[in-house]
Symmetry: C2
Subunit: 150 residues, 2 copies
DNA sequence: TAAAATAAGACCGAATCAATCCGATTTAAA
DNA sequence: TTTAAATCGGATTGATTCGGTCTTATTTTA
């Protein structure tokens, strides 16, 4: 039930990216793009780690990258349209509490016929829904007033 | 985002326990209690693993145990009142996606003052709510018709 | 054309986790 | 009183994954 450190760091890195390139993407590539080194400096994370993170985030379509001198990173879409679920899935893959769903095998309980298995997709979807409800913009606000969610 | 194997097995073990001791607790200790060995046989899990699991489940108050010959296990309360959240918390501890909440330290991003941290409790509570909505009785049904939630 | 700056991928050490085993304690039955 | 059965607790071993570092390839500017 714990998030992997990489996913945890990815959330922090995305918040930092959203601050440095507030609404990139719309105004072309002429903007001042933030690079991985600047993100590492702001977040305090080791630079190679941030580089590996942005690689996955770019591959997942959450960030856009420009190579070469003067290159850097930019948010692929508006920060309001990026949720926690997007970031977690970009780093950890599909949201699934158990490996039952992915592969065909993994017979943890062959004797039962595993009556539990058919119910996992429902739980996974509920979790995904909960994470989808948290946009990146909410994580950017430094205030600590807890916004009551039911 | 993956459940630990122990928590995964605990869910299967609890389902098996709920089948062998349908509604124990009310009718005293005179019932036929299932022991850890029988649960291991039915679930296909290794016996030592099941023993360690039931230890934690008893400590968490989900199962009651009777030591000595003729002893065994019984559900502490009705299967309908035991949720996925209870089982996960019994094995893994409090539901928290990041270690930020528990301890005071763990400064993953000292530069930012970690604007993300105050928002984690909200996410954790949402996840806990999703898991609390799945009672043990639902997991016992062997049918694979997906009951639409949402 | 050359140099510099960037992203992207491969490699390796380390830590956590899962699984197993062994002993101690307790209770019921013979 | 003795024996057997069953839980409880800790300690050990092995493996998988995670985190970090390094090297390579590509692109842009001067």
């Amino acid at each position: 039930m714990r998030l992997s450190s990489m996913a945890d760091y990815a959330v922090v890195a995305m918040v930092a990216a959203a601050r440095q390139c507030p609404t990139a993407g719309a105004d072309g590539d002429a903007r001042a793009r933030a690079n991985a080194g600047q993100l590492a400096l702001e977040t305090g994370l080791p630079a190679p780690t941030v580089q590996k993170l942005v690689s996955r985030l770019v591959a997942a379509g959450l960030l856009t990258s420009a190579r070469g001198a003067g290159g850097g990173l930019a948010l692929a879409r508006d920060a309001h349209d990026i949720s926690l679920a997007d970031i977690v899935e970009a780093v950890e893959g599909p949201i699934a509490l158990t490996p039952c769903v992915e592969g065909i095998s993994h017979d943890c309980a062959p004797g039962l016929g595993c009556s539990v298995r058919p119910h996992w997709p429902v739980v996974n979807e509920a979790l995904r829904l909960a994470l989808s409800g948290v946009p990146l913009t909410r994580l950017m606000t430094p205030q600590d007033d807890v916004d009551m969610v039911q």
